[in-house]
C-alpha cells in the first residue's frame, strides 16, 4: 500500500517536471505541494523499509545477547537488548554436553554430500525432461511435481521401515540417499535448461556428441550460477533439517549439529543462556557463509529462470 501511494505521488512530481512551469500555470501551487508530498512519501516508505529490516535483524541480535546473559540480568530488565552481566555459562553448557566437532563433521557430510548428489541427480533428470524426448516425459514431470505436495510426516513411518530393511539406520547412506533428489531442484533446473538455446545441442550433435557429452560438457557448464543457487537453497534446508536426522540416527554420534542443538535447547528449561547459545551456535556457520556469499546468491537467483 505505502509503496504504491508513494509511487503515485512520485509520478505526479515527474509529470510536473516534464511539463515545466509557466507563471500562468494555476496548478503550480498544488504541483509543488505534490512534489513535497512525493518526497515525504518516498522518505516515509524508506523509513518503513528500514524499520522492517531492523525488525528482521533485532531478534537475532537479542538471541546472541541472551546467550551471554545471566538469568539474573535477564529477569532484572527484559527490555535491555544487550547484557550488562556477561557469562560464558550458556556456551560452556552447550560445548560440555555435545560432541561438537563430531556433530559439525556429520552436518557437513550430511548436508554437503546430500546436496552434491542431489545436484547431480536433479540436473540429470532436469536435462532429460527439458532437452530429450521420451515416452512418459510429461507424466513423469507431473508426478515429480506432485511429490512436492507430500508432507514429510506422512511418509515418515514407511520410510523408516524401508531404511530399516535396508540396514541403513545410523549410517551416512541412510541419512543421505533418501534425500538425494528433490522435486524443487528438478523443477528449477528444468526451467533453466529450457531457456538455453537449442543451437548449443544441435551444434554438438552434428559434431557427433551423445546425450551424456551434451549434458556434461555443454549444459552443466552453462548452468553454474543456477547450480550454485540451488546448492545454497538445498544446503541450508538440509543443514536445518530437524526431524530427519533425529529419526534416522538414534545416537548422538550420528546426529547433526542443528538437530542436536535444537534438542538441547528445547530441554534447557529455565536456563535461557544455554537455550539461546544453542540456537545461536546452530545458526552461526550458515549465517557466516551467507554473509560472505550473499552477493553471489542474489545474482544466482536472477539466473534461475524464475524471472
Amino acid at each position: 500500500m505505502a509503496t504504491s501511494e508513494t509511487l503515485m505521488h512520485h509520478g505526479a512530481a515527474v509529470d510536473g517536471h516534464r511539463r515545466g512551469h509557466t507563471p500562468a500555470d494555476k496548478t503550480t501551487g498544488p504541483r509543488n505541494l505534490a512534489r513535497v508530498a512525493g518526497r515525504i512519501g518516498a522518505a516515509l516508505s524508506w523509513l518503513v523499509v528500514v524499520i522492517g529490516a531492523l525488525a528482521i535483524v533485532l531478534p537475532f541480535v537479542w538471541m546472541v545477547g541472551v546467550a551471554f546473559r545471566t538469568n539474573g540480568d535477564l529477569y532484572a530488565d527484559p527490555s535491555r537488548l544487550w547484557p550488562q552481566q556477561w557469562t560464558l555459562h550458556g556456551i560452556r553448557a552447550v560445548l560440555d554436553q555435545l560432541p561438537f566437532v563430531r556433530l559439525l563433521i556429520n552436518t557437513f557430510v550430511f548436508a554437503g554430500g546430500t546436496t552434491l548428489l542431489l545436484l547431480l541427480f536433479d540436473s540429470m533428470t532436469a536435462f532429460a525432461l527439458a532437452r530429450l524426448r521420451f515416452r512418459g516425459r510429461n507424466v513423469l514431470f507431473l508426478l515429480i511435481l506432485a511429490t512436492l505436495m507430500v508432507p514429510f510426516q506422512v511418509t515418515l513411518v514407511p520410510v523408516f521401515l524401508t531404511i530399516f530393511h535396508l540396514g541403513w539406520l545410523n549410517s551416512y547412506q541412510g541419512l543421505i540417499i533418501p534425500r538425494a533428489t528433490s522435486a524443487l531442484g528438478i523443477f528449477l533446473l528444468r526451467q533453466f535448461f529450457q531457456q538455453l538455446p537449442r543451437e548449443l545441442d544441435e551444434a554438438a550433435r552434428i559434431d557427433g556428441a551423445g546425450n551424456f557429452t551434451i549434458y556434461w560438457r555443454i549444459i552443466l557448464p552453462n548452468a553454474k550460477p543456477v547450480l550454485a543457487t540451488l546448492f545454497i537453497i538445498q544446503f541450508a534446508a538440509l543443514w536445518n533439517d530437524f526431524l530427519w536426522p533425529l529419526v534416522i540416527s538414534s545416537q548422538t554420534q550420528m546426529q547433526t549439529l542443528p538437530a542436536a542443538l535444537t534438542l538441547f535447547s528445547s530441554q534447557s528449561g529455565v536456563d535461557h543462556a544455554a537455550l539461546m547459545a544453542g540456537a545461536a551456535i546452530s545458526l552461526a556457520p550458515l549465517a557466516i557463509a551467507f554473509l560472505l556469499l550473499q552477493r553471489y546468491f542474489v545474482q544466482g537467483v536472477a539466473t534461475t529462470g524464475i524471472k
Binding site: 540396514g167 538414534s250 550420528m254 534438542l263 528449561g269
Partner: protein, 428 residues
C-alpha cells in the same frame, strides 16, 4: 541372529563413512541394537531424561556397569518428543533399544503393550536377590504398570509434587508459614498477588496448563473431585470437581493469582524470575531455583476436605519384547529397582526412591524425605487408563484452557465428561 546381520551392515556403513571423511570411526559403535562382544553383553537404553537430573541416572548406570563386568548398559538421552517419534517404529522393527522409557506419561505403556513391543516381566518378579521386587513399589505405580495381571514396566524414577514457595515474598506479605490447608492456600495466593493499575507485578501462584506436569488435577483432588473413576467413567463434572474448578478458575480470572495459558517451562520461569510466590512442582526443579538465587521453601501440598493428596509421577522403564538379552535386561531392572541403587539414586537426584521400604535411608536428606513422605497418598494422573493420552490431549487440557479463559465451568465439564465416556466406553 537379527543383531548380527545388522552389525555386518553397520560395519559396511562404517567403512563407507571412513572413506567419505577421515576421522569418522568413532560413531559406528553400538546403538539401538544389542550386541555381545568379548563376552560382555551390550545393552542399549533410550530415555528422555534430558533435564538436570540426567547425571544421577548416568551415575546409576555407571555403577551397574562397574559392578556387573559381563553386562554393559549404554544410556542414550533424547527429549520425550523424539523418543515418542522413534520408539514405536524402531521397536516394531526390532531395531530399537533393549530398554527404554517410552514417555514421561505412565499411560503410554498401553500403546506399546497393544503393539506387542514390550516384554512382560512376570517371570523376573520376586523378592529374592536378583529378582524385580515389585512388592516394594508404591502400590499406585505397581497397579499402573500391571495390565491383565502382568507387570510390564518398572519405575525408572518416582516423584511427587510439593509446594515450592519464595520465602522472601512470604516475609514481605507478612506470612510466616507455608499454607497447610486449602483455605490458607487460597487466602495466601490472593494475599501474595500484587498488582497496581491493572498490571500484576507478582503472582500468588504459578499454574501451567500445557506441556507440563499436571497441576490442576491436584486442585480438583484436594476438594474431593477427580477426572475418571475406577470404572473408566468420567467424574470430571461431579459436584466436587466443578466446585474446585470454579473456585480456582475464579481466582485466576478475577483475582489474577496466576497468568493464563502458561506452559510448564513458562511457569518455572515465572517462579525463577521472582514473579510468582508459589508453584506446585516436582523434585527436579529445586536445584535450578536455588541457583537462580531464590530463597526457596518447599512444603507438602496443602490439605483440603479430601485429606492429603498430591500428584505422583513415574516414568515407566520397559524391555523390548524381542531383545536377545532379556535375562540381562531383567537383571539390570532388578538391580536398578533394588534397595542399594534406589537409596543411592535418591541421594544423588533428590527424588524419592521408587520403593516404600527405604524410610531410614532417605531421612537424612530433608528435601528427599519431604517428597518421599507424600508417596503413600500421591496419585497418578489418569492412572490405569488405556485412553490416558487421548483423554489428556483431546479433553482435559483443552477443558482447563477453556475454563481459564472464562468458559462456563459446568457446561465445559459436562462436555468433557461426555467425550471421556466416549473414549473409555463407559455407558453410565
Amino acid at each position: 541372529m537379527k543383531g548380527s546381520v545388522i552389525n555386518m551392515r553397520r560395519s559396511a556403513a562404517c567403512l563407507g563413512a571412513a572413506l567419505a571423511a577421515v576421522t569418522l570411526t568413532a560413531g559406528c559403535g553400538n546403538n539401538g541394537v544389542s550386541t555381545s562382544s568379548g563376552g560382555v553383553v551390550q545393552l542399549s537404553m533410550l530415555t528422555g531424561f534430558t533435564g538436570p537430573d540426567e547425571p544421577a541416572y548416568q551415575a546409576l548406570v555407571a555403577e551397574f556397569n562397574k559392578t556387573h563386568p559381563d553386562i554393559h548398559v549404554t544410556m542414550t538421552v533424547e527429549p520425550w518428543a523424539t523418543v515418542a517419534q522413534k520408539l514405536p517404529a524402531s521397536w516394531a522393527t526390532g531395531a530399537g533399544p533393549d530398554l527404554a522409557t517410552p514417555s514421561s506419561d505412565p499411560g503410554s505403556i498401553f500403546s506399546y503393550i497393544k503393539t506387542n513391543s514390550v516384554l512382560p516381566l512376570d517371570s523376573a518378579v520376586g523378592s529374592a536377590d536378583g529378582k524385580i521386587d515389585a512388592g516394594a513399589f508404591p502400590s499406585a505405580v505397581r497397579d499402573a504398570f500391571t495390565v491383565d495381571g502382568k507387570l510390564y514396566a518398572v519405575p525408572a524414577n518416582m516423584a511427587t509434587l510439593a509446594l515450592y514457595y519464595n520465602k522472601d515474598m512470604f516475609t514481605a506479605a507478612g506470612i510466616s508459614n507455608p499454607p497447610a490447608t486449602q483455605d490458607d492456600f487460597v487466602a495466601d495466593a490472593k494475599k501474595l498477588t500484587v498488582s497496581s493499575g491493572g498490571t500484576v507485578s507478582q503472582y500468588g501462584l504459578s499454574l501451567a496448563d500445557n506441556q507440563t506436569i499436571q497441576m490442576w488435577p491436584i486442585l480438583q483432588w484436594m476438594n474431593g473431585g477427580d477426572i475418571v473413576d475406577g470404572h473408566g467413567c468420567a467424574v470430571v463434572n461431579s459436584a466436587a470437581s466443578v466446585s474446585a474448578l470454579t473456585k480456582w478458575s475464579q481466582l485466576v480470572i478475577q483475582n489474577h493469582i496466576s497468568p493464563i495459558g502458561q506452559s510448564g517451562a513458562d511457569a518455572d520461569t515465572l517462579f525463577a524470575s521472582r514473579k510468582a510466590a508459589m508453584e506446585i512442582n516436582g523434585p527436579w526443579a529445586a536445584a535450578g531455583y536455588k541457583s537462580a538465587g531464590i530463597n526457596l521453601g518447599i512444603a507438602e501440598v496443602p490439605v483440603g476436605p479430601a485429606g492429603p493428596i498430591t500428584l505422583a509421577s513415574t516414568v515407566p522403564l520397559m524391555i523390548e519384547r524381542n531383545t536377545p538379552h532379556a535375562a540381562q535386561a531383567e537383571q539390570f531392572l532388578a538391580w536398578y529397582t533394588g534397595k542399594t541403587a534406589q537409596a543411592q539414586f535418591s541421594q544423588s537426584s533428590g527424588f524419592p526412591p521408587a520403593r516404600t521400604d527405604l524410610g531410614d535411608a532417605v531421612a537424612a536428606n530433608p528435601t528427599v524425605a519431604l517428597f518421599a513422605k507424600a508417596l503413600p497418598y500421591a496419585k497418578l494422573y489418569l492412572a490405569g487408563q488405556p485412553q490416558a493420552t487421548s483423554i489428556d490431549t483431546d479433553v482435559y487440557i483443552p477443558m482447563i484452557q477453556q475454563i481459564e479463559r472464562g468458559a462456563n465451568v459446568k457446561s465445559a465439564a459436562d462436555s468433557a465428561a461426555q467425550k471421556i465416556n466416549q473414549l473409555t466406553g463407559c455407558k453410565s
